[in-house]
């Protein structure tokens, strides 16, 4: 006879024990097909994101002017710049890889959708980052991007000409959103496991 736990805490613990035991979160064995190169893109995307965040923390700590006036600051900005470029390269490869692997199969549509949301929010993160550079590129992007924002009414609340607003969103709000969603994405992958290879006899998705 099984008893249903009464407290929310116990129910949450039981759910996690059942759906995400530590052996699933950090398994020592994986299905044979996980040896494919396509899975490397997800890991290197996370690695690049780690360096994006770390270099961003250093830049945020010293302030938005620092990298314009010191060689060390410039180097950290370069680390940030290239880690962002690498993050997007790896993320797009991961996205295409998962598309052609039809990674949403067998109940994994939610994992795909969270991944797409991460991609879209990352574009906002990069966009606000470009606006926060405090250089000519930032000025020109702001002057032009305002028309697109204004055309859909977003400019009333998301003013790309307001450096303070863009900087705050870039260093605080979007990183929190990206990190939270990446955490959720990883948990979803670990909970359900890696999707099996496509059945070669199948002609359509499901």
């Amino acid at each position: 006879m099984s008893s249903v736990p009464s407290s929310w805490t116990a129910r949450a613990r039981d759910y996690l024990d059942r759906r995400l035991p530590s052996s699933n979160l950090l398994p020592e064995r994986q299905p044979y097909y996980v040896g494919s190169w396509v899975y490397v893109f997800g890991v290197v995307t996370i690695a690049a994101l780690f360096w994006v965040i770390l270099s961003g923390i250093v830049l945020a700590f010293f302030g938005p002017q620092w990298w314009h006036v010191t060689a060390v600051g410039r180097f950290f900005n370069s680390l940030h710049f290239w880690s962002v470029q690498m993050f997007f390269v790896f993320m797009v490869l991961h996205l295409w890889g998962q598309y052609f692997a039809a990674g949403w199969r067998d109940g994994r549509a939610g994992t795909w959708m969270v991944g797409v949301v991460i991609f879209l929010i990352s574009i906002v993160a990069a966009f606000t980052g470009y606006l926060s550079q405090e250089n000519f590129d930032a000025q020109w992007i702001a002057v032009n991007a305002k028309d697109a924002m204004n055309s859909v009414g977003a400019g009333a609340f998301f003013n790309v000409l307001n450096f303070g607003q863009m900087y705050g969103i870039h260093v605080m709000l979007v990183p929190i959103a990206v990190l939270a969603l990446v955490g959720l994405h990883i948990v979803m992958v670990r909970m359900k496991g890696v999707v099996k290879p496509i059945d070669r006899s199948a002609k359509v998705g499901k």
């Binding site: 044979y32 097909y33 890991v43 410039r74 710049f81 949403w104 250089n135 000519f136 991007a145 290879p197």
Partner: protein, 332 residues
Amino acid sequence: MKARVRQTQEEYYRGVPTVPYDLVKELAIALVATLALIVVLAAVLSSPDVKSETVQSWAASDPVDFVTTATGELSGSTVSSQYGPPYNAGSASVQGYGFFSPQAWFGVHQAVDSPNDFVLNPLKIAATGNPDLAGALDTYNKADDKTRQGWLDAYSKGLKDAQADPSTGSFTVAQGDYGPLPVMMNSLLKQAQAGGLDGLLLSQGGFYQTDYTRPLLFMGDGGYLAGLAEGQKLTGSQWGMMNETGSYPGQTWLWLYTFWYQVPPFAGSSNADLGVVLMMTILSLGLLLIPFIPGLRDIPYWIPVYKLIWRTLPPTAGSQPPVHPEPEPAPR
């Protein structure tokens, strides 16, 4: 379907052969490898940083463009002076399809009064202790609209043939009936070249400022910023949205967004921004919902890239244990 969603990983993997896999080691190697790559790129290629322009640098480098723009602000012929929401009550830059115009619906949120904010208010401050400028402003303010517009039109025409002197940052305009405008515009130019206008445009009454709406709108109205951008291949027709200054990669992930601006019906359309943003919103929703869209979700089956992805055959039966072996049959 429901049963599949609720399937645990143990059930999903049951009977699948496995291989040893060290996730943490893989992540550690990925961290080191990406760091090495990023450090090399940063050390060798650095990062772009073309210095920002100021109203001061604009006025010093291209005084005729600066004065032409300021004159246009007074006559109401610049982009920002006619823009519409969220800056003012104009309509020249309001986009919409019939009744669908979110830009108009949300109204004015960052009020900008181009003639006063960019020209007249800074001149009022500069007029303190400057009787010539104070007199010119008084003449301008007391003139009727028709007279003012006559001066502005004549001065705008005169500026088209104005000669700039780069060594002094000054310019000369042919004689004409410009009323008080030469005194006003020369004062504004000197104020800008001295750096005073940058602060005045940014100041909104408080001490701390981070909102560059006014100076950027003013600079955007001129041709100087656009000329520099064209030199850096940053304008819209140059796919500038995804470019960066110099030879650095920009926001290349905006390639599809940029692409729509280059092709009909968006290229040259007065509603291009609205149309492209709506198009990208629809495409983004499509990307999000691929698992549920027949056809789009079937392409991986039709173009069998998966044969390249999964080339590894299962290990020989019995050589590797499955993650979750089949349950032992119950004893009889």
